[in-house]
Symmetry: C2
Subunit: 416 residues, 2 copies
């Protein structure tokens, strides 16, 4: 293994044991200190960020990416506020579940404990740096960060400030470490540090997530790709359906819980489709539809099978016609990414069947898919949205960054 | 992909949707029918098993393995009883956690649902076949089994009987499928069926588990390797310590929760070690000790560093001397397999520190490591003991074979 990574891993292993000994008050104090330090060092961070932004411009970075990369005084305040919000959340560590006394007198409980060391791989958003630190730290974990090379000056400045604040609070600063190398081979080695890292979380584009899933030997939580559907049932309230679809598609175009594909019951097509088309076109949304739809609205563009698998993250939506709820469920389960799915219906039985039989992290009746979010669900913070089934599914808060250990209090019990 | 596997995967996908529609009564009825069918078909199963046993003898199979492979009328009754026990357990599916009404009126709950399709890879114990079926079926999952080729006739007979019982109960028999090929390439392909399988559980030797972890692209739960320690603290009750160590080492020699290594505080060595040595030697246990021990009991065999990493599954135990609790914790965290660890102590502070700082699925004060077991913990049944941190840790019961989905009941909510 790369020497620098090995060194970081060893430091993380020590910091992990130190973290276990911190109580909630100590952690919250350190988080508040880190938030204050970020504000105090704003000019230093902005200067570093300026270097990243200039380099980005020189390298022809897209305008939207430059925007994500750029920090301002306000954005630094948001980062600090984010840390304070996490400080205010309940500490999941130490909670004991299902404690009971066994017939032989042993007391057994399941105690919530930190995972240990979490690796984060992300792209050019410097705010992920402070965000990830706050969530990992509050849940008692050490974090090793690998941010995008485009944001390296910003990330270095942020991590430096946080580490200094931790040191001042007499906490091992190695509970946040940044991989400073921008060498791709180092990233590849980072993904194989099983000896030191318990969980790897990629945050960013579908490409980044896929590459991490394929190359990591450390357990990964798959986050974020969302080919989300709205199914408009035979007995839907049409006005509600249009409102939900327009919201789910256009309220924020570039995020994973945005609706990318519609499924519509055949029997309502002739009445509903023109209404819907008008509303979507008013928002500038291009519709790619199947043959059934084109019989009614021949001006629409025809959808290919590939369209039904596509997460556009753009002003485009696909439409599929089905003859029954069964067909709708089958179509969704085949094409979705197991993220968020909605049925719009007035039918009790169909609503329940949709909730039961659609395979996704979040299944909705009569609401926008845009609600799939840690804050909207009331978790206070979110480290990502898991689209896998193991360990964590749906919006991941502090609790999803923990594991359990069984603690057993005996007084000499042996097994007969 | 191999055509037969592809076919099995497709059938499993259909069976998975059928399973979702079954309620607990239907599942329990089918389990009871399957148990009765196994008893009724005992002679047929014994005959098939006879072929396996004869082949095993011809191929020079070890006596201990022949014993694990051999079925008797009693063992078939045990298998049937095992299925009935699972039928009597509470159904985890459908439980809703943390349901609440959000400020905008949406009701959000976290519903426990099946994982989907579970793959099991195991060796020459035919009882795992019925066991795995019962646990997966009760938790609403489809199971695809890959048993050891040495048990292929027995497994085929058992699966045939269970499938017939399911059909009679009007349940899709494809919710249990057996890979009949004994070709190693097929097993390798089975481990890469991500499209169809949600979770792979290997059960058996350390070699099987390692090979599965390394070759599978499907999420795997690592089970069973146990390099478990007993630490005897400065303030231990010596009689209790000896009783616990003898039990943890010798009560059943070949299982993962057996103690393989001791850690002893230096200050008690001269008084405690001779007592312990006498008790262990009486049970025929060979002791491999460090230099400090050999100063006191020079007749002991010297331990190598490798010994401290070894799961013997035999009448051998290693002993390490430490100067402090810190050293003990460090030694254990370095050498253990994160399975089960015990401290024997009368000291309140040390007991708590051990529980906090030792990294393992199960940490004990003053009790034998042999209790790490689904039945002993009160889960009623167990599919394995997870030594990893994600998804499941420690003895895995029905609940660990499930995942969650968020269900959201709205009445037209959109995100502002």
């Amino acid at each position: 293994m790369n020497e620098i990574l090995e060194e970081m891993g060893k430091k993380a292993a020590i910091a992990k044991q130190d973290m276990i000994r911190l109580n909630t008050n100590q952690k919250n104090h350190a988080l508040r200190q880190a938030a204050a330090a970020l504000m105090a060092a704003a000019s230093e961070i902005l200067e570093a960020n300026q270097t990243d932004v200039e380099n980005g411009r020189k390298n022809g970075m897209k305008k939207s990416l430059i925007d994500r990369l750029s920090l301002t005084e306000d954005r630094i305040r948001d980062m600090a506020d984010g840390i304070l919000n996490v400080a205010a959340l309940q500490d999941p560590i130490g909670e004991v579940l299902d404690m009971s006394k066994r017939p032989n007198g042993m007391i057994i409980g399941k105690r919530r404990v930190p995972l240990g060391v979490i690796g984060m791989i992300y792209e050019a958003r410097p705010n992920v740096t402070s965000d990830a630190f706050a969530l990992c730290f509050k849940s008692g974990n050490v974090v090793i960060l690998k941010g995008g090379s485009d944001a390296i000056y910003s990330n270095r400045a942020i991590v430096k400030v946080v580490r200094k604040a931790l040191e001042a609070a007499k906490i091992n600063p190695d509970c946040i470490q940044l991989i400073e190398s921008t060498d791709r081979n180092v990233t590849a080695e980072f993904m194989k540090m099983n000896e030191y890292i318990d969980l790897l979380i990629p945050r960013g584009s579908a490409g980044l997530i896929k590459a991490t899933m394929e190359n990591s030997t450390i357990p990964v939580i798959e986050t974020g790709t969302g080919n989300c559907h709205v199914y408009v049932d035979k007995n839907a309230d049409f006005d509600m359906a249009v409102k939900i679809i327009v919201n789910a598609k256009t309220q924020r175009i570039s995020v994973c819980n945005t609706c990318e594909s519609l499924v519509i019951h055949k029997s309502i097509l002739s009445e509903f489709l023109p209404m819907l088309t008008a509303a979507l076109q008013e928002q500038g949304v291009e519709i790619r539809a199947d043959k059934e739809c084109m019989k009614i609205c021949p001006e629409l563009k025809e959808a290919s099978e590939e369209d039904f698998y596509t997460e556009y993250l753009d002003y485009i939506i696909s439409v599929k016609t089905v003859g029954s709820l069964d067909e709708a469920i089958e179509h969704i389960n085949k094409h979705n990414t197991k993220h968020s799915e909605t049925i719009v219906t007035k039918d009790y039985h169909n609503a329940n069947r949709f909730l039961d039989e659609v395979d996704a992290a979040c299944v909705y009746v009569n609401a926008s898919t845009r609600f799939t979010d840690g804050n909207e669900f009331g978790f206070g913070a979110e480290i990502g949205i898991s689209t896998q089934k193991l360990h964590a599914r749906g919006p991941m808060g502090l609790r999803e960054l923990t594991t359990c250990k069984y603690v057993i209090y005996g007084d000499g019990q042996i097994r007969e």
